[in-house]
């Protein structure tokens, strides 16, 4: 188990090298002059050159790359051309909001998708199954940003139940930062008013992000449940008089989940990378919004940094999933 974990963590090294090389190459291939953009429209050539020199951008690409990787070793993600702040500090500030959103969306998708998948497997080829199938096709094919706009129109503009966007109203004082997760920090501070408001702000973007993974997890769970229900040990359980509910939620569920876990892991990474659109629609102060602003101004250091962090989180999420396999299926643990 330990050997397995260490090996998977060591695998992160080639992932980091690969990601940085690709991101560096893309950054240099893009047309336009980010330094000139950062220096402003009225800057002279001398000022631009000075800025380039200050950020080491006058050096050859390979030496820039080596310097960047050297910085990474002690947690330095470079400096943003635009804000002149270290990228690491920016990411630390924006990452929790994104993670909060992704966790909330994944929680909804898993907490609803798994039981719904089980139930639609039991009711297969009857009307709840058909309804879920139509819902799944709709949820998977609808773009998230469009769904976000629809939700805003419905719940913020017409019904006025939920705030339009942002993480907290401007007039509200955020709780002292402990974990960076607003929901957790407000609970730690005992501020239920902020907690409720944060939850209301989180609701729509989380739902917009969760529908597609929810539909996929539900359909995967349905398929694997149907497969597991045909296993011999389920017949034995039935033949020995176990109650129907216990067979489904105990004997079948655990075996069916292990096939669905892979999808959950993949979706976690997909959501992390896909927050850009939803965060833009809902003005959510997370990594996606930060990366969008950096891309628009061709400020490459933050873009590379964000890609790197998301890549690492993705690998990490899949490591967690692999470890969960062992928890759910004891056979994996020993081999």
């Amino acid at each position: 188990m330990l050997y397995f974990t260490v090996r998977r963590i060591l695998l992160l090294i080639p992932v980091i090298i690969g990601l940085t090389i690709i991101m560096f190459a893309i950054a240099r291939l893009l047309p336009g002059d980010p330094v000139a953009l950062a220096a402003g429209p009225n800057a002279t050539q001398a000022e631009i050159d000075a800025l380039a020199q200050q950020f080491g951008l006058d050096q050859p690409v390979w030496s820039q790359y080596l310097r960047y990787v050297g910085g990474l070793m002690h947690g330095d993600f470079g400096t943003s051309l635009l804000t002149r702040r270290p990228v690491a500090a920016d990411i630390a500030a924006y990452l929790p909001a994104t993670l909060e959103l992704v966790f909330a969306a994944m929680f909804l998708a898993v907490a609803l998708g798994i039981p719904l998948g089980l139930l639609t497997a039991v009711w297969r080829n009857r009307w709840p199954d058909y309804v879920s199938q139509v819902f799944a096709i709709g949820a998977i094919s609808m773009p998230r940003f469009f769904l976000g706009l629809l939700l805003q129109l419905c719940f913020a503009m017409w019904l006025m139940w939920l705030p339009l966007g942002g993480q907290l109203p401007i007039i509200m004082i955020p709780p002292p930062r402990v974990t960076g997760f607003l929901l957790v920090d407000s609970l730690l501070a005992g501020d239920t008013q902020v907690f409720r408001s944060a939850l209301a702000h989180l609701a729509m973007p989380a739902v917009a992000m969760s529908l597609s993974p929810l539909a996929t997890i539900m359909r995967m769970m349905r398929a694997s449940t149907i497969e597991v229900m045909q296993q011999d040990y389920v017949t034995t359980a039935r033949a020995l008089g176990l109650p129907k509910r216990k067979i489904l939620f105990k004997c079948v569920a655990r075996n069916a989940i292990s096939a669905t876990l892979t999808v959950i892991g993949l979706y976690f990474g997909w959501l992390l990378g896909g927050t850009v659109l939803v965060e833009t629609v809902f003005d959510w102060p997370g990594l996606g919004l930060y990366a969008t602003k950096a891309i628009v101004s061709q400020d490459m250091m933050p873009v590379i940094g964000v890609a790197l962090v998301i890549g690492l989180l993705f690998v990490f999420a899949n490591l967690v999933i692999d470890l969960l396999y062992g928890v759910i299926n004891p056979k994996v643990r020993y081999s």
């Binding site: 039935r238 020995l240 075996n255 020993y334």
Partner: protein, 345 residues
């Protein structure tokens, strides 16, 4: 004479498929009393497993459809009981064991937990199974079920049962897993045990141990057993009675010694002839020509007629009734009397 434990009368079952309705059981008659071990033999697809599954109504319907007949278990017709009443009998009154011990235990749970679940389900219909006060709480009942599970593992011959409860199925050998499954089938103290090819997936030495265990259980607890198998050797070793099935019919049945010594039906004789002996020369295996008939459009009359060496035109007119030839021995063949006369002459 007291009422039999199980009485199957004129059971007709069809299964619908893409090609049509297959008449898979065609008038099954079977009576099982306490203390009897009935061997149900026949080649693949003859309906022996379907008979076993029908008893506790485990076949999904559709595709299964019971045309007529009854399955009386302790006097009550299983086909007429509401399904909830049937579920209450499963595990508690009727235990089942299946063929492949590697796939019949849930890989995700410790075997102790699986045994406890079956014990608790059975105890919800008969609290006396667990040795604890009637108003015991959940935790106390669970503890009692665990004690019972350990005792059952001990009874089926698993050493160090307390510790083994915490093992997962993949930590047991095939023979041990089948013992666990037998313990699971017996934990609810059933009166009837249906064992569907319980030793087919095991090697010969383990097979003998498992059969001995089954025989011991019948002797100790006076239960009835239906042992489904295609191995006549297993039947001869273990059973008190045997029913030979062919294409959805029981063609011959009776006490095991009687049937094996004096097989009356041509199909039973062909089965016996197919068993190789020490004298069988290489390449001289005795097979039976032809194949099992199509059950969607079965041949008229006796279903064995197309393969039978004794067929006469009358065979294809009507399904031959079971003829009593003495000592509880019956055979469904219209030529059985003249054949016996010829033998004795």
């Amino acid at each position: 004479m007291d009422a039999p434990l199980l009485a199957i009368r004129d059971l007709h079952l069809t299964m619908s498929s893409f090609d049509g309705e297959a008449h898979v059981l065609n008038g099954i008659e079977l009576t099982v009393r306490r203390g009897e071990i009935w061997g149900l033999v026949g080649e693949s697809g003859c309906g022996k497993s379907l008979t076993g599954l029908s008893i506790s109504r485990l076949l999904p319907s559709p595709p299964a459809r019971y045309l007529r007949g009854e399955i009386r278990f302790e006097g009550r017709d299983m086909l007429k009981l509401p399904i909830s009443a049937v579920v209450a009998l499963r595990g508690k009154k009727i235990g089942m064991i299946f063929q492949d011990p590697t796939t019949n235990l849930n890989p995700a749970y410790r075997i102790g937990e699986q045994l406890v679940d079956v014990a608790l389900a059975a105890a919800s219909h008969d609290p006396t199974i667990l040795d604890c006060p009637p108003r015991a709480g959940r935790r106390e009942r669970k503890r009692a079920a665990r004690r019972l599970a350990a005792a059952m593992l001990d009874r089926v011959g698993i050493p160090n049962p307390e510790a083994r409860l915490d093992n997962y199925p993949h930590e047991f050998s095939g023979g041990m897993r089948q013992r666990v499954l037998i313990a699971m089938a017996l934990i609810g103290r059933p009166d009837l045990l249906i064992a569907d090819e319980p030793t087919t997936a095991l090697d010969v030495s383990v097979q003998a141990q498992i059969l001995k265990l089954l025989k011991g259980t019948v002797a100790d607890h006076d239960i009835g057993v239906i042992l489904i198998t295609h191995n006549l050797g297993v039947v001869a070793q273990t059973c008190t009675n045997v029913a030979v099935m062919y294409a959805g019919n029981i063609v011959e049945s009776g006490p095991v010694a009687e049937v094996i010594e004096r097989p009356a039906h041509p199909y039973t004789r062909a089965l016996m002839a197919a068993i190789p002996t020490k004298e069988t020369r290489r390449g001289a295996l005795q097979g039976l020509g032809g194949t099992v008939p199509n059950l969607i459009a079965p041949p008229p009359g006796c279903r064995f007629a197309p393969r039978c060496p004794l067929t006469i035109p009358a065979c294809t007119r009507a399904l031959p009734p079971a003829v009593d030839i003495g000592a509880g021995h019956t055979a469904a063949c219209i030529r059985v009397e003249e054949e016996r006369a010829a033998v004795h002459a």
